[in-house]
Symmetry: C2
Subunit: 395 residues, 2 copies
């Protein structure tokens, strides 16, 4: 594992966003999904009903509903409030759309000079994660009259993280490691999968208030014994009790202050049968081979092959049907190229990816996956999710 | 509190859905959001990528991605699988849209005879709750070529629950009450808000595997002392430590097997100051007054007034700015009329609503809300969320 610092960092978030706008002759871009807001402003919304206008040649303007907490909004952001949640407030979105129009007009930006991502189907969950805010169906349509341009290249902004963003993803991984330690401690015979998962989620939630953490939430899914063989199709926790000899897989999604870690560990309860142990060793070896090869300039397809070839060589090719990894950090799954067979996109410094090969064999009643989050550095890589003494160094 | 059984139940879910289709000259309705699937088929999806065609004159057909767990799909549902998650599967949604078209054609249903709700902005979270499945932006557009009709009256199907659905909402409330007991037990001086909330979420997750529960997840938010005064605008947990004299509010959303409970309790740590105690007593009195009046035929506005008038009479009208309640069960917040001033819609047997007046006074550093889930019965009501011995009877 290389720990060389990254000197060939991408430009600052501001420079990169302004380059995107200039390249596409845009003077403004509108965002409201939690991950988009976080990326462009460092602000992670509570309700998911905030909206940012990012101007090419003026300071950004953030609109928040009146019911939004204000204490985690970066101090240098200009904030305008719109009515919400009060019995007398009427339709908050028409007020918002009108206010957005005013700000664009004030800056002389017409609809052909402004763009947005109209989609709504995948986004990071805001802090209030139990239900989406009721955004009306015609909201994007109304905004389109103010911001007519679409550009899929916006998604490229997710690919390279800045040093500040890396630090935040590091914190998410540090917190996730506290959860992993609870997983190792609780994966004992007779505990149910749900009990183990609940212990992991609980300790992660408890980190709120420590070291600047205002939001910390995990989704832990634990599968044991025969259930671990399903871990390549879905991850959930059942009431099954762990039994000596089981392999136990945890899939752990952790969101800290808006930044995400996506980890998997597999442990054995007691001494596994040799058929299960072989699967676990193979997942470990395949994962390490892929990680060892990560450096700028190598393609995602080459990294996928490093893991896949190991699994194929042992005769398990049909038991590893999914990709080897994806980008991560602003979401549980960031947009961008996958680490999969034949993918020609190459790694650049500042990218953060998961490496997560798995082997799932129903006939053996066992499955295993190991997943880490890896930063591409100037000369190699740094595994962000393994930390001595926090549990994360235990594979 | 009335506990009279409901004899004037709404028709069965199947009868009511078919009546909706007949009334609007529809031969099929397509759903894919988790709460819509649950309502029309009793099936709660894992990934959120399943789709159901409900036919007016044929058995429904459920499409699930290949990676979907199958063990909680009702045995009498006809299930068709489409490819997903395999490296070789290409675009799963084009396969799905094509398969949906085939089923509609086979039943002789054209686009003008089929409808759907095209919106995507608010839905129950599926079992995999950490991130939405990546439904492509043009999915609803493609489906629209097969199902062209829109009808907001579909939302009316949420209003009256069947006896089976009431039983499932009862289970969600029973589990939520186990969480409330943990709230009461953990609301001790020196605990942080996040620690109390984590204990509640944890014990609810641990119910998986008990009594037919395959999915149990909570979102608990705890606000103490001065933070409780914000509970009318937002609910979250911070690292603040509870202190003697605090009011402590918990907002608790619980999803069990797809059915939701939405509860709030407020307790005092030690002995509260009289100014805080007055607020808590007022919230309790206002809530009980509203609950006591619930019966078929009374309007939502009248029930709102029962609570609001108490608060106004004590001079706190400006400290209760939100509505008194909403429908609940298929979602954290079901669609339908609100219990708010002037609302003329009337209650019918089988409706399940929240009653949740609150009083939040920043100047006193205190806020309180009590929220229960109430079933409208033939002759009155039954509070589903208060159970002797489970903590829920403690207000």
């Amino acid at each position: 594992m290389s720990t060389t610092a990254v000197t060939g960092w991408p430009p600052s978030r501001q420079e990169e966003t302004k380059s995107f706008l200039q390249l596409h002759n845009l003077r403004a871009w509108i965002v409201w999904r939690p991950d988009e807001l976080l990326m462009l402003s460092g602000y992670f919304p509570f309700w998911g009903a905030s909206l940012l206008i990012y101007f090419a040649d003026a300071e950004p303007v953030l609109f928040v509903p009146q019911i939004e907490p204000r204490d985690h909004i970066p101090g240098d952001l200009r904030v305008l409030e719109y009515p919400w949640g009060d019995l007398k407030c009427g339709d908050p979105y028409s007020v918002l759309v009108s206010a957005v129009g005013d700000q664009l007009a004030k800056n002389g930006v017409n609809a052909e000079q402004a763009g947005m991502n109209p989609g709504a189907f995948r986004a990071s969950l805001p802090i209030q994660a139990a239900e989406q805010i009721p955004i009306p169906e015609d909201f994007a349509g109304h905004l389109s009259t103010l911001a007519a341009k679409r550009n899929p290249a916006f998604a490229n902004l997710y690919l390279r993280k800045t040093p500040q963003e890396i630090d935040a993803i590091r914190v998410a991984n540090r917190v996730a490691n506290i959860g992993l330690q609870a997983f190792f401690d609780n994966s004992q015979s007779e505990a149910t999968e749900a009990e183990v998962a609940a212990a992991v989620e609980s300790i992660i939630y408890r980190q709120i208030g420590c070291d600047g953490i205002f939001h910390s939430r995990a989704w832990a899914m634990v599968q044991s014994g025969p259930n671990s063989a399903d871990a390549g199709r879905f991850n959930r926790s059942t009431g099954r009790r762990l039994t000596n000899g089981d392999l136990v897989v945890i899939e752990l999604a952790t969101c800290v202050n808006g930044y995400w870690s996506d980890l998997t560990r597999t442990v054995a309860v007691g001494r596994p049968q040799s058929e299960a142990a072989e699967i676990l060793d193979l997942a470990r070896d395949a994962q390490q081979a892929a990680i060892d090869a990560i450096r700028p300039g190598i393609s995602a397809g080459q990294i996928d092959a490093m893991a896949r070839d190991k699994i194929v060589a042992q005769g398990f090719s049909s038991f590893f049907t999914h990709h080897t990894g994806h980008h991560v950090g602003f979401r549980y799954h960031d947009p961008g190229f996958l680490i999969q067979p034949g993918e020609s996109a190459v790694f650049e410094p500042g990218m953060v990816i998961t490496i997560e090969p798995g082997v799932y064999v129903r006939e053996r009643g066992a499955g295993a996956r190991i997943e880490d989050n890896v930063l591409v550095t100037d000369s190699g890589h740094e595994v962000l999710s393994r930390m001595a003494g926090t549990g994360g160094d235990q594979l």
